[in-house]
Amino acid sequence: MRLINGLAILLVYQLLGEISVHFLQLSVPGPVLGMLLLFLTLLLRGGPTESMDTASSGLLSHLSLLFVPAGVGMIVHFHRIASEWLPIGVSLVLSTVITMAATAGVMLGVKHLVANRGGGDA
């Protein structure tokens, strides 16, 4: 029953997210707002229930499987990918390297800065 209860809670939050996005005309996808609402709930109640934990770890431990149907969608875009493989490929590789290096650089730099100032407010 734990899995079912947990899944029901996740779906309720997703539904709340979708409804709020629709009525408030927000530019955030419904599940993302659902995630924020669940996060706020966890803050208020001081942690997840066992059933939430069961359902979320079940879903998140096989997150890769959930990408498969969308990945197979590549079959629909064969022509586009074949004719634009160079810009797509170069953009993917360069942008991934740049993003990873820049993010790591900023994180490392600011972390040292904060540490050198005596730990800030931590």
């Binding site: 996740l10 939050y13 997703q14 530019s27 955030v28 996808p29 419904g30 599940p31 993302v32 659902g34 995630m35 996060f39 966890l42 803050l43 942690g47 934990d53 359902a55 979320s56 770890s57 879903l59 998140l60 997150l63 890769s64 959930l66 990408f67 498969v68 149907p69 969308a70 990945g71 197979v72 969608g73 590549m74 079959i75 629909v76 875009h77 586009r80 634009e84 160079l86 810009p87 797509i88 953009s91 993917l92 360069l94 942008s95 991934t96 390297v97 993003t99 990873m100 290096a101 820049a102 993010t103 790591a104 650089g105 900023v106 994180m107 490392l108 600011v110 972390k111 904060v114 931590a122």
Partner: protein
Amino acid sequence: MPEAGLATIWVYLSASPLLGLTVTLVAYSLAHRVYIYANASPLLHPVVTAVTLLIGFLLLTDISYQAYFEGAQFVHFLLGPATVALAIPLYRQLPKLKRLWLPVSLAVFTGISIGALSSVIIARQLGASLQTQISLAPKSVTAPVAMGISEKIGGLPSLTAVLVVATGILGAVIAGGLFKLLRIHDDSVKGIAMGITAHGIGTARAFQISPEMGAFSGLAMALSAFFSAVLLPGLLEWFGLLS
């Protein structure tokens, strides 16, 4: 079974959602076994193997993607509740986030902006079509959110899904070498960079390297999912990259 019977059942199966769902799970299960057998090498990531197997299957059997998706949508649907579920690891990382909120938030905003802007600008310079450029923008964001963003800004959500998976694999493969080259040994830094760049696929890889790197990667992925959804459309518009 007589041949006519076999043909009838095939016609029935190829139109029923049962086949699409079954082949998805079987392909993933095989792909996962290969991945474990290959000592979890990110090059043999189960998504790559499973997608390759399934595309081969659809081409061989002449089943359309639409017919396949009738069944596969049950798996695809779970991306929504999985996104909601990210709130739980995010909550668990809260003590870490409290200690490092300044470096983490600056890194997240840098990563989101540079990730989107660099991919669109590079693709634009090399002559990609506008729709391809826009579909590339959310490539570092976890798939369900990226597809939502892509739809909002005029990209192709299904192309974005493919690019997101490709980015995740690329990030997981290059991270080790890149961090060594940059002489970065701090697991919190590596995790944040991984989660921002390579979302869930990178996070899965990060957990293999160390639990701390995985936790930070999951944290970065969840923060990026939320703030990308809020910030990316406006950011791209501000830079005039949506037209």
